[in-house]
Structure formats: C-alpha cells, structure tokens
Symmetry: C2
Subunit: 234 residues, 2 copies
DNA sequence: GTTTTATGGTGATTTAGATCATCATTCTCT
DNA sequence: AGAGAATGATGATCTAAATCACCATAAAAC
C-alpha cells in the first residue's frame, strides 16, 4: 500500500498526492517523493482514524468526508476540538510537536484520507520553504480557531455558543442557510462543550423564537441577523 | 531604531537578534537581514505590547520578562490564552494567519522583546526550511497547549483547574515547588477561566487541606502528589 | 420481523460557581 | 505622609446548566 495507488479520483499524475490545495507548492520530484510515504485510506462513519496516546507516525490529510478531532477525559465525557473536512489536516500539531497523538479522530461521514509519513513530510518541509510557509499558515489558522473556541467556552453562555455552532455550520461547512448535519445531538453538544439535553433545549428555544427551523437533522436559519447577534453578545 | 541596536546584552555579534534558541537556525547573512526588520523594545508591567484588532505588522519575541496574551470579551471579562516568557513568541498565529492581532498582549513583569517585521520574517521562512520547521514545532506546541486548555475548561471543575495552574507555575515557569507569582489573583483567575473570588476560595481550601502553603503571592507546594491527582481527575 | 441498541426529547432536581456586597490591606501617586 | 486606587479576602444569594429519570422513536442487529 506504500506505493502505486495510481490515478485515483483525486489526481491524474500517477501519484496519490492530490493536485490541489497545499500540495501545489510541491515540485513534481517532491510529489513523487512524498507519495512514497503516503497511504490512501477509507473510513466509514464511526471508524477511528487515530487514538489519543498512540505513537503519531502519520499526518492525516482529508480528501473527502468529515472527521472529528476530540479528546476524551474522565468518565465518558468528550470534547470535540475541531472538525476536519476536505483539504484539512487532522493531526498537524501532534505530528510535529509530540511523539504521540494528543487527540483522537473519528469519521463523522464516510471519509477518504491520505496518511502521510511524518518523516517524509518533515524532509520535504525542511527543504521547501514555501510549502513550510503554507503549513505555518494552516497551523496559525488552527491556533486562532482553537483560541476563539477557548474564549467562547469561558465567556459565552449556552445560547451564544449554540449560535456559534449554527453559524459555523452555515458559514464554514455548508455555505448555506439551510443544511442537513451528519452529527448527532450528542456530537453537536461536544463541539460546544455542553450536554445533549442542554443543546436540544436551547435549539428548541431558537425554534420557538423563530430564529431557526428545525426538523431532525435539517436546520434552516430563519434569522441570520439574530444568530449573529446572539453569537456576538454571547 | 530599525538598525544599530548593537552589542546589547542578548548577543555579541552586532545584531539585535540573539545567538540562541530558534535563531540558531539562521545563517549569519540571514541574521543580518532579519535584524534590519527588528526593533528592541522594553515594556513595564501593565504596558500593552499589542491590542486585539490592530494591524499585525510584527511578531513579538520575548527576551526577558513575562507577557500575557489575552482576549477581552463582552463587559470587562477577560480570558488569558497563554503566558509567554523568554524564548517564546507572543503573536505567532496572528502574524501568519490574520492581518490583525487576534488577541491582546500585556507585560506582567518588566519585559524586553524583539518586534520582528512580519515581511522580513516571512522572506526568511520561505528560504530557510530548517528555520520554518522550528517555527512549525513551536506552533504545534502552541496548538497542543491551547487544546489542552480547552479540554480542561470544559471537562474539569475548579479544583482541577486550580491544580493545573499550580502545576503549570511549578513545572513550566519556575521549575520549583516554591515560587512567587507576579500575577494578581484576578490574572490567575483569567488563566483558568474563573473569577478571582472562586480562585481565592479554592486556593484557601488547598491551604486548609495542607496541599499548598500560601502567603500572599508566595506559593509552596506541600503535596505535589495531591496536586497531580487533582489536576488529573479534574 | 422482532429484539436490542442508539438517538431524540421532556420534566424535575441539584449544584458548582458566578454575582453581589462589604471590608481589610497593600500599593501608588502626588 | 496621607489620599486614593487597586488588590485580597469572606459571606450571602442566585442562577445557568448539569444531572437524573424517564419515554418515544429510529436504526441496527439477530
């Protein structure tokens, strides 16, 4: 599996490395070299991509699907640190600043991902400054996202965080005011640091207040303005 | 001020860029070039290094002192995202993934810092992959730290977070079981997402339980084991 | 096709910690 | 040195949201 996943649907150059996004910074030679250390994997919903405390040998680049990166604590409580969709890495930080994965990751939807050997990636980063710069930008974005979440967790109360969540789905994941989430209520709650009960109650309040329309996993935003205000005032 | 801060106490090469830490990855030529875009600044306690929403022209490298990076929300509540001591950058993420500073930073102790022009730094990162790799490692560490904090904020209750704080001071900042903090109770509270009243109460409980000894800003850990357990069970 | 297991939903109860109020003590600044 | 401000400390009260206890569907598994 190390080699020869040729001409898959993500490229046309006989390499598993896609011809897009961040990999555009690589030369043909570097792409070829990188693909030696790459494995294409598919995961079904609920499949584990990697588990907290396992040795972190690979970085995971999502080609298709949706993945949650989470951390389990005492008991069965879980916090979801981020979602990673196509074009995102699921283990950037663990890969370069730890020998072990510091979080777990699981597929929320059926997912196709590239497992990239850390060492191979590292070699290329060392010699290709533009590529490194692109990774630095990605990591910076990740720091800002997680910090924003930290601020929200400690300053906003539930309605504000639920509004954040709805905005996030609408603006960053689905680019639409109506969408169907593939997450359970439990998973949504984990994303904003609450319980499923509290999430359900708050979403129903939004529904009663005609801020959103809610039918199972289908969410339609009726008042983007109010969602924005709620998310901003916390 | 752009040039000519020669032979200061942090180097002996006629450049404001220090001969240590991450800057060891730079060639003499790169150091010289970087120093063209560098300003050495001193700050007194409470001085602002940069403010949320200002254009982010510089990265800030701490040479001496201690800085808090924080985010202000509604009202007068504040969350402290990280502390930055000597050898740390205070605005890595904002510098590369945003045009504006996404957080504020203020000196907790009298501080000496290098203000490094973003553009100059960027040029060097692009052409020096080893240096980029070192920055990637720093950023990875930062992501892991902030994620850990996020997990603590949403899963641990106060005693666990206070234990985290004491461990952090002891293990990461002072490397000793007895230390004198330069932060106020308010600032300590902001670091773990609580109020000064709750922090004070919890610390006093620790004192009554003979886990720590407490005299104003002086803290002595009497039972590192208990602190560790409290921090782990949350 | 019927049992079993996840998920969605609701009400009642509890609780950790915020908030409010107040006072003591220690800095800071002329 | 003394006024004023910032900090530290404690008690009383309040409240957002967790927890607990169910039940109803829906989805998997046998």
């Amino acid at each position: 599996m190390k080699k020869g996943i040729l001409n898959n649907e993500y490229n046309n150059s006989g390499s598993p490395v896609p011809d897009e996004g961040i990999f555009n910074y690589l030369s043909a030679e570097e792409k070829a070299r990188l693909s030696e250390g790459v494995t294409l994997m598919t995961f079904k919903r609920q499949d584990i991509l990697f588990k907290q405390n396992m040795p972190s040998d690979h970085l995971v680049y999502i080609l298709k699907g949706l993945v949650k990166v989470y951390s389990g604590g005492r008991g069965d409580r879980v916090v979801c640190i981020m979602l990673a969709g196509p074009g995102a890495f699921a283990a950037l930080a663990s890969a370069y600043s730890s020998n072990i994965y510091r979080n777990s990751a699981a597929a929320i939807e059926d997912t196709v991902a590239l497992m990239i050997r850390k060492e191979t990636m590292r070699d290329i980063l060392k010699q290709n400054g533009l590529f490194s710069m692109a990774i630095i930008n990605l990591m910076g974005k990740e720091i800002l996202d997680v910090s924003d979440k930290l601020v929200a967790f400690s300053m906003k109360q539930l309605p504000g965080r639920v509004a954040d969540l709805i905005r996030y789905f609408s603006e960053e994941i689905f680019n639409s005011s109506e969408f169907t989430v593939s997450l359970t209520r439990q998973e949504m709650a984990e994303l904003i640091g609450t319980t499923k009960e509290s999430l359900i109650r708050t979403m129903n309040e939004f529904k009663n207040d005609k801020i959103i329309d809610l039918d199972g996993k289908n969410i339609r935003i009726l008042s983007p303005e109010l969602i924005k205000v709620l998310s901003e005032i916390g």
